[in-house]
């Protein structure tokens, strides 16, 4: 997993045709600068559209107008000039932390409860203790411990 980055009006056109197996391509000169700059652990999500064809891709690296992507589940081929733009989708929206969404447990989770995500916080309603995930099923109790 990585952190998703965003930019307004990030949109360009494919410079050359690509096949279903290509994992990198270039947009037309200058279009790359409209997209976010990303570093290690960052990515952004785009969709490529040509006529009735479309494919979601995750951009894992960008160097100028050259994009490195993780292709969609059913990769397609696209011709030069295909539209490529950054978009929000349901998977990203579901990533965001929402107020009051912490899980409530009835036993201390350390050693037994698998975290939904690294750093998750859960509340033990039996003893009133908050726990914060370190990794896997490892949790630390929050606050001053006994």
């Amino acid at each position: 997993m990585a952190v998703f980055k965003f930019e307004n009006n990030a949109k360009g056109n494919l410079e050359n045709a690509i096949g279903a197996g290509d994992s990198s391509f270039s947009l037309e000169a200058g279009d790359g600068s409209l997209f976010p700059s990303i570093s290690a652990g960052e990515q952004f999500k785009c969709v490529m559209i040509e006529g009735s064809k479309s494919e979601w891709m995750i951009v894992t690296d960008r160097a100028g107008d050259v994009f490195t992507v993780t292709r969609g589940a059913s990769p397609l081929s696209f011709g030069a000039g295909a539209s490529f733009e950054l978009r929000m989708d349901v998977d990203i929206l579901n990533l965001f932390f929402q107020k009051g969404s912490n899980r409530i447990v009835t036993t201390d989770p350390d050693g037994s409860l698998a975290a939904d995500y690294f750093g998750e916080e859960v509340y033990n309603s039996i003893n009133g203790r908050w726990w914060k995930n370190v990794s896997g099923t490892t949790w630390l109790q929050m606050g001053i411990t006994d």
Binding site: L34, Y117, T138, I144
Partner: protein
């Protein structure tokens, strides 16, 4: 903290046309409530789009500075946002609220949690107030939370405190170890020191009649000052047997009157909260002095001096031909200062230190005159093995000018001769001491203490030089008598030079 706002049904049209530089947008009052937030603070925003079938422009609505009066209401906006260009828009142009990249960048994503392998305090600047960061190594696994939006101030929210021993020099002649949470103790606090609560210094001079009841003078509540500059909690632990210091009472002739041992008693372990900018005195216990023999009635004493630790004296070793002073004179400053040997020496009763530029003999040209002196102390009688401090006592009976004096190690041996004029080396052994008439007590620095420690069981030679000109190599200015010098008691005058060594046997 400013936030990005959003509303459903935020759709309207321009009531009046705007130019490319307009920053106020009027929309129908009926739609206004969807574009504003009456509770907005400075920095709160909404994002909106102006568009026709071909062109669009993103604007940022400044909620706090928009006009909410019905008759004159307008939206305060910043134009041409998100890479768009400001346009001239006619009345009736569609305007609607939109989400923006900044919206999503401001939302928390689980994988946005940073992980580090060290304590972030004082090091890691937070990305935002309330950021949580995982320390996965360096002192166990712990979670920290920032309590400042900019500065690297973090509070431990999960995981064990990192406890370590911290050496504390009490400044009262003895040392203690405390065990503390380093994240609290350093860098959470500065200016840590110990001090007595009863106002009576543990070191001092007592004059008069000492009654049994006066022994409360020797009871000291010991604590630690902590200047908190970030909110936190801190636990300080103290070893069970923190210290056992000795208090010895001497009369003016150096006779031992009594020996009192001490022990720090009191509860162990204190957890306390620290607030930003406050100072705290954390009471760690009471230094209880107990006598090894009965103390009753009253004892007439005068000029009683007491110490927290053993004092031993290396004094009065100065005899003719066994130390003394030398002098050099020359019209040229550097020639005199770096002369290969002295012009003459004096092994009599006095020591002189200085550099002067003056007429020494009527009719002769002015010359620079340097005086340097050597002290030697026999340390063979010192039984202290762990030295806490060393004090050199001198008596000055004549002084001229405003110079200072410094001490350096010398490798001179008996008998000292003129060829020892430049026999000094190494770091200075104490801060430069102004030469002032009367008793002078000079506490050696760590280099000085190390020198004494290295020569325990033998003897130590110390060279005294004038600081401003001789040590620093800067010629004293004209006119006559410029520079400074001082005369000190030698061994045949009372009080003689004395070296006092404090520490533990």
């Amino acid at each position: 903290m400013p936030v990005i706002n959003f509303n459903n049904r935020g759709v309207s049209h321009l009531q009046l046309a705007i130019g490319v530089s307009s920053t106020e947008i009027k929309i129908p009052w009926a739609d206004f409530s969807q574009f504003i937030n009456p509770q907005a603070i400075d920095g709160d925003t909404m994002w909106a789009v102006l568009r026709d079938p071909i062109v669009r422009e993103i604007v940022k609505i400044d909620l706090a500075n928009s006009n909410l009066n019905e008759a004159t209401a307008f939206l305060k906006v910043e134009r041409a946002q998100g890479g768009t260009t400001a346009q001239m828009w006619p009345a009736g142009t569609l305007i609607f609220l939109t989400t923006h990249a900044d919206h999503y960048e401001s939302l928390f994503q689980p994988d946005g949690t940073r992980q580090i392998d060290f304590n972030p305090n004082g090091v890691v600047s937070p990305l935002y107030r309330g950021e949580k960061i995982l320390q996965y190594a360096g002192c166990g696994v712990r979670w920290w939370m920032s309590f400042d939006a900019v500065n690297p101030y973090w509070q431990l929210i999960a995981g064990e405190p990192c406890v370590d021993e911290e050496y504390i020099d009490t400044g009262f002649g003895f040392k203690v170890w405390i065990v503390a949470e380093l994240e609290c103790f350093r860098p959470y606090f500065d200016d840590t020191h110990w001090e007595p609560l009863d106002g009576n210094p543990t070191n001092g001079v007592f004059t008069g009649t000492l009654w049994e009841s006066d022994f409360n003078l020797f009871l000291e509540d010991i604590g630690i000052w902590a200047s908190g500059y970030r909110p936190s909690f801190c636990t300080i632990y103290r070893p069970e047997e923190t210290l056992t210091a000795l208090l010895r009472l001497y009369d003016t002739n150096g006779g031992l009157l009594n020996q009192i041992s001490s022990k720090l008693i009191g509860p162990d372990g204190f957890t306390f909260e620290v607030n930003d900018g406050d100072d705290y005195f954390v009471d760690l216990g009471r230094l209880l002095m107990t006598s090894n023999g009965p103390i009753s009635g009253k004892t007439q004493m005068s000029n009683l001096e007491f110490y927290d630790c053993v004092k031993q004296t290396a004094g009065n070793p100065f005899t003719t031909g066994y130390g003394g002073q030398m002098e050099v004179r020359d019209p040229d400053f550097n020639t005199a200062r770096t002369a290969p040997s002295c012009d003459g020496f004096d092994w009599e009763s006095r020591l002189q230190v200085g550099c002067q530029y003056r007429w020494w003999v009527g009719g002769d040209p002015k010359q620079y005159g340097f005086n340097r002196s050597w002290l030697v102390f026999d340390l063979s009688g010192i039984t202290i093995t762990e030295i806490d401090r060393v004090r050199l006592k001198l008596f000055q009976y004549a002084v001229s000018g405003g110079s200072s004096m410094v001490l350096q190690e010398s490798s001179a041996t008996f008998p000292i001769t003129c060829s020892d004029w430049n026999n000094f080396s190494g770091p200075i052994l104490a801060d430069p001491e102004p030469m002032i008439n009367g008793n002078q007590e000079i506490y050696l620095n760590q280099d000085g203490i190390d020198l004494i420690a290295a020569n325990l069981g033998g003897e130590v030679w110390i060279c005294m030089r004038e600081f401003e000109a001789d040590y620093s190599g800067i010629a004293p200015p004209y006119p006559p008598d410029a520079g400074g010098w001082a005369s000190y008691n030698g061994n045949q005058w009372v009080p003689p030079p004395t070296l006092e060594v404090f520490g533990e046997i």
